[in-house]
């Protein structure tokens, strides 16, 4: 087998747009809302196909959330989309009050999460959303690792009743799963709240989410060369988190590194720590955006400059192994 495999890439927002169209054909209760960003979030595909079930609220995110609540209270399955920063910060209280508190069936699907937004800069980056959304009761928080998983997540969300936050990204990122959601020949089944063990290992566990899952897989190969056996877990559902899988990993490997395109405060790293520390604490290291704002720049360069790479994961593994008793 040749080692250099061409990596297929696709943006998770593209997968979302396509999935909505397919699901819209089956589920007549799906209604989609946007706030003047349908061409970017890809809800435009749904809008073209089902103009009667699509509403553009203009640049008015708070109002969109309120309308989403109203539609949901009348039995609709509502998908409301805009950029992550606006979904979670221009309409945070509206989401909490009108949607989460009454436990309404609204899926806030936000594109442009993280710093891979790139050149638009800090006003459009979002490194706080996993933290701010997971802290609200009733809310399911999902960050898919690639386009295939995005499609699976959207399908699962249609069947799952309740408020949810699905965080997607702008750039084309590597597709790690086969189109039928299998990984290295193994067919998987997307379940909200269930982590996916992509690689088995015994020395350390790398827990990743979103585009950092691909980086974790790269780190796995690098570590293997150095004789380190890493387990790689993809946590696509940050809340409810797969506590059993994480505690098992803590027990079996004795050290954890988390990796996310989010602040190291309050995101995946915090969620994993909160989980294991209550039953089986092991040393941890966090890979993520440090407590700072990034800047404008090409997304890949930003990921490098702000420490979101496989080599940062490798370094974090080395650090955590020193802490391991």
């Amino acid at each position: 087998m040749s080692k250099i495999k061409e990596v297929k890439t696709m943006a998770t927002r593209d997968a979302y747009g396509k999935a909505l169209v397919e699901l819209g054909k089956i589920h007549k209760d799906i209604v989609v809302l946007d706030a003047d960003l349908s061409s970017s979030t890809r809800t435009q595909y749904f809008a073209r196909e089902f103009p009667d079930r699509f509403f553009n609220f203009g640049i008015a995110e708070a109002n969109m959330m309120g309308a989403a609540a109203g539609l949901a209270s009348c039995g609709k399955i509502v998908f409301a989309s805009t950029f992550a920063i606006f979904a979670t910060q221009r309409a945070y209280n509206q989401f909490r009050q009108s949607i989460a508190y009454p436990n309404l069936n609204v899926k806030v699907v936000a594109s442009h999460g993280g710093i891979s937004v790139g050149e638009d800069g800090v006003s459009h980056h979002c490194t706080e959303d996993i933290a701010s959304m997971r802290v609200i009761p009733n809310v399911t928080v999902i960050v898919p690792a690639d386009a295939v998983e995005t499609r699976e997540a959207v399908k699962a969300l249609v069947k799952h009743y309740g408020p949810a936050y699905l965080r997607l990204g702008r750039p084309k990122i590597p597709v790690i799963y086969e189109d039928d959601y299998s990984f290295e020949g193994k067919k998987l089944n997307f379940k909200i709240g269930e982590g996916v063990t992509l690689k088995d290992g015994s020395d350390v566990t790398i827990v990743a989410t979103g585009l950092m899952v691909y980086e974790a897989l790269q780190a796995f190969e690098e570590l293997k060369k150095n004789g380190i056996s890493a387990r790689v877990i993809n946590i696509h559902t940050i809340k409810p988190i797969d506590a059993d899988l994480l505690v098992k990993a803590a027990k079996e490997t004795g050290a954890i590194v988390t990796a996310e395109e989010h602040s190291i405060i309050g995101g995946l790293g915090s969620a994993v720590a909160e989980t294991i520390v209550q039953s089986y604490p092991v040393p941890m290291q966090f890979v993520g955006v440090k407590d700072i704002f990034a800047e404008s720049g090409p997304w890949k360069e930003l990921l490098k400059k702000y420490g979101l790479t496989s080599s940062e994961i490798v370094e974090a593994v080395k650090r955590v192994l020193k802490l391991k008793k």
């Binding site: 203009g58 640049i59 008015a60 800069g121 800090v122």
Partner: protein, 291 residues
């Protein structure tokens, strides 16, 4: 101190021609910058070129050598995505060297994708999340009153941006506090990101809305330099309430194949298109010198 203070210059033909020429220069910079950056928002930058030229090269008082000069007029770019036009004006006004323009949106640049008041000399507010600038302007105008300063506060908004409820909260508060030192300029180019404003979210009747919120309203052609200058002056004579200038403009103004085209909202020109566009601008400059 090298204060720029030309407000009292007569609005003669010479001034008008000079400002029209600067607007063309700004357009050129915007197109060059965004194509070089590979991203950015040319459409709404072009629609505001005359407005920004009139503000920075005639009406505003500021000191490029001392950007924090206490008595300066404040300009808040609420529709922050058109910062290429602002950056062009700021560099031409002497706030920073022109070379910086070609670093737009690159790692380490002082020119961020959206305005950053801590990184860019002359930028008064960090914007980019639409709908927040007028509130910031209200705060600046209140501070000016408390400190008994004579500076004025200018806020440039997009027409699509008016969808944001916060704009109307700010409008209400500005009228409530009788902020006659505050001026809002609405770049009414008829387009937002997803399409025409009247299809995405109608804002009409817009003059009546501002009036109902307690503002004095002036409607002008936002590409007519004389009308802009007169409106800016006239607004200063309105006492007891804030003024809104509704500037009717064309998105992509000045480049035949960009005018009124929503696809150039957030997409730069290709190298090929850029060549054609620069030719058009050159021609306009020639015509101007003949006039």
């Amino acid at each position: 101190m090298t204060v720029f203070d030309h407000k009292d210059e007569p609005h003669d033909e010479e001034l008008i021609q000079r400002l029209r020429k600067i607007a063309l220069e700004i357009r050129k910079d915007v197109l060059l910058m965004t194509t070089k950056a590979g991203s950015g928002h040319p459409g709404g930058s072009l629609s505001a070129a005359e407005i920004i030229a009139c503000l920075y090269f005639h009406h505003l008082r500021y000191d490029p050598e001392n950007p924090q000069w206490e008595d300066r007029d404040r300009f808040v770019l609420s529709k922050g995505h058109i910062c290429p036009a602002l950056y062009s004006a700021l560099s031409r006004a002497g706030f920073f060297p022109r070379e910086a323009l070609w670093t737009l949106r690159k790692i380490g640049s002082i020119l961020q994708g959206h305005p950053d008041m801590k990184k860019t000399p002359g930028v008064e507010a960090s914007t980019g999340s639409l709908g927040q600038g007028l509130s910031i302007g209200v705060g600046m105008a209140l501070a000016g009153r408390i400190d008994k300063k004579s500076y004025r506060v200018y806020v440039l908004l997009g027409d699509g941006e008016l969808d944001e409820g916060q704009v109307w909260e700010a409008a209400m508060s500005a009228a409530h506090y009788r902020l006659d030192n505050l001026l809002a300029i609405i770049d009414y180019n008829g387009l937002q990101l997803d399409g025409p404003v009247n299809q995405i979210m109608s804002i009409e009747p817009i003059a009546e809305k501002w009036e109902a919120f307690g503002w004095h309203v002036i409607e002008i052609d936002g590409h007519n330099v004389r009308q802009i200058l007169d409106a800016l002056d006239f607004a200063e004579r309105i006492k007891g309430k804030p003024t809104a200038i509704i500037a009717h403009t064309i998105k992509g103004k000045g480049i035949s194949f960009m005018e009124g085209k929503v696809e150039f909202h957030g997409k730069p020109l290709t190298e090929e298109q850029l060549k054609l566009a620069l030719k058009e601008l050159e021609l306009q400059e020639k015509l101007l010198s003949i006039e």
